[in-house]
Each structure stands twice: as structure tokens, then as C-alpha cells.
Symmetry: C2
Subunit: 173 residues, 2 copies
């Protein structure tokens, strides 16, 4: 191995270390996801309801999709693409049978929201997130952001909904 190769390895290692330190610093500085730089939006639990869903399989959750005022307005007006500033929140809870409700119904039929699983956000900023359809993606479990590597596939998974600005959830009237 010659000196140029060693120098390159050194530069790459240094860059990696700097990136790691920057990410660690950002994460320590307030729970932002390093890849998209999204923090948990203040007051998102008070946002208006877009729709609800149940994902079985590995997810095994009940979920609510909420929107900030910019997102709700765009949904109700059928406005696409979503304007900058729109934020969509997906809250998921464990899919949990309710023994109490089942007794009232007289059969096993009731599933309710159990412990929270995680919260995801899609944040619209057409310039900042130009390479991912104008959307930044984030996920928080008990307030802790998901790491970069796990966020990378978010955009490609949403690609089939490109005609609806990469958003799967329809508004429930």
C-alpha cells in the first residue's frame, strides 16, 4: 500500500469520525433525526384527525394519522402537492383485544389501542428535501429518533403513491 492510499484511508476515516461526531452532537442536542433533521413537532397530539387504520403482520398496530393545519387544509381542499409546512403524523399503538368491551358485546370482537409503539412524521419542505419528493421522514420511539440507515428506505417505499404526492393515507370523511 503506498502513501497516497494510506492518506486516502486517513481522510475517509477522519470524515467518518467528523460525521459521527456531528450526528451524535445533533442527536444529543434535542432529539432530531440526523438524516432529515426533524424534531418532534410541538403539540402534534392535538392535531386534527386525517384517518385511522389497522396494520396486521409484523406491525400489529392500530394507528391514527393526524395533520397540522396546513396538511388538513390541503386534504380537505384536495390540494396536491401538499404545500411547504404541511406535516403529517402517524401514531401507532399495539393492537390489543379488549376483554371489557368483549363482555359487553357478548363475543370476542373488540380491539383497542394498547401501549404506544412509535410516532412517524412526514414534513413537507420542497427545497430542503428536494431529493426525496419534498418530504422529510422521521420516526420516534418513546422520544428517541430512528437512526439514519433505517430512515433511508422511507422515500422509496412511498414512491407508489407519487400521484398523491407520496402520501398513502386518504382523508376519512
Amino acid at each position: 500500500m503506498n502513501r497516497i492510499a494510506l492518506l486516502l484511508i486517513g481522510v475517509v476515516a477522519l470524515a467518518g469520525a467528523v460525521t459521527f461526531m456531528a450526528a451524535a452532537s445533533e442527536q444529543a442536542g434535542g432529539g432530531a433525526t440526523p438524516m432529515f433533521g426533524i424534531k418532534i413537532p410541538v403539540g402534534y397530539r392535538d392535531w386534527k384527525l386525517i384517518s385511522v387504520a389497522h396494520e396486521a403482520g409484523n406491525n400489529n398496530d392500530l394507528r391514527a394519522v393526524l395533520g397540522n393545519d396546513v396538511a388538513i387544509k390541503a386534504y380537505r381542499e384536495g390540494k396536491l402537492p401538499f404545500p411547504d409546512g404541511a406535516i403529517i403524523a402517524r401514531l401507532a399503538w399495539a393492537y390489543t383485544p379488549s376483554e371489557e368491551n368483549n363482555k359487553v358485546f357478548g363475543r370476542a370482537q373488540s380491539f383497542v389501542a394498547g401501549p404506544p409503539i412509535n410516532v412517524q412524521f412526514m414534513v413537507k419542505d420542497s427545497k430542503k428535501y428536494a431529493t426525496t419528493g419534498g418530504w422529510g421522514f422521521a420516526q420516534f420511539t418513546d422520544g428517541v429518533p430512528l437512526a439514519d440507515a433505517a430512515l433511508a428506505p422511507c422515500f422509496s417505499c412511498h414512491a407508489p403513491a407519487k400521484d398523491r404526492d407520496y402520501v398513502f393515507t386518504h382523508y376519512a370523511p
Copy 2:
């Protein structure tokens, strides 16, 4: 049959006719449920989320439970009984498989809110609804209120939740 018995029958028949006419008149007066006199609260679709659920069986729905500000405050503070003015809304939509989502997940696992089924309300007024735990009950399908006879069992069905002021739904954090 003596004259006193006949008189009693006559009084009962008259009271029934008056009750029927009063109910018919009230219903014609603007979409309120005759039994509890509840109209669809303005802006309920904008209320904050309490929780979500799935009822299988005959219901076969996905549902969201929303609360007005009085109800949400009581829930978050763990305050029981709910104060007068609290209103809880239960919105139900048809439990509908999402082919689009299933393609993304690579398996049949996704169920979303389809067409709306109906909306129910519990309205707290400890004086007006003193005989039903302080709650008035209503259900609207496409804006049309449910008839008296069908509303009568609401309170008795909610009796098992007496310790939580007759409200089954827990707040989802």
C-alpha cells in the same frame, strides 16, 4: 271491566298519543334525537383524538373517538366524573382492506377507513340526563338521527363502565 279500569286505559292511551306527537314534532324540528334532544355538534370533526379501535363482528368497523375541549381536558387530567359540557364523539368507518398498501407491504395486512358508517355522541349534562348517568346518547347515520327505541339501550350497555363514568374508551397516549 269496570269504569275505573276503562278510565285508566283511556288515560294511558292519551298519554301515549301525546308523547308520540311531542316526539314527532321535536324530530321534525331540525334533526335532533327525540329521546335526548341532541343535535350534531358543530365542528366535531375537528376535535382532538382520544383513541382508535377496531370492532369486528357485526360492526366490522374502524373507529376514532374524539372529544371536545372539556372532554379532552378531563381525560388528560384523569378527572372523573366528566364535567357538564363534555362531549365524546365516536366516528365509525367500514373496515376496508387496502390493496394499495398491501402491495407495498408485500402481504395482505392493511385495513383502512372506508365509507362512513355512523357517528355517535355522548353529551354530559348531569341535570338534564340525570336518569341515564348524566349522559345523553345520540347516533346519526348520514345526518339522520337514530329513533328513540334504538337509543333506549345505550345507557344500560354502558353500565359496566360505571366506575369510569360510563365511558369505555381509554385515552391513547
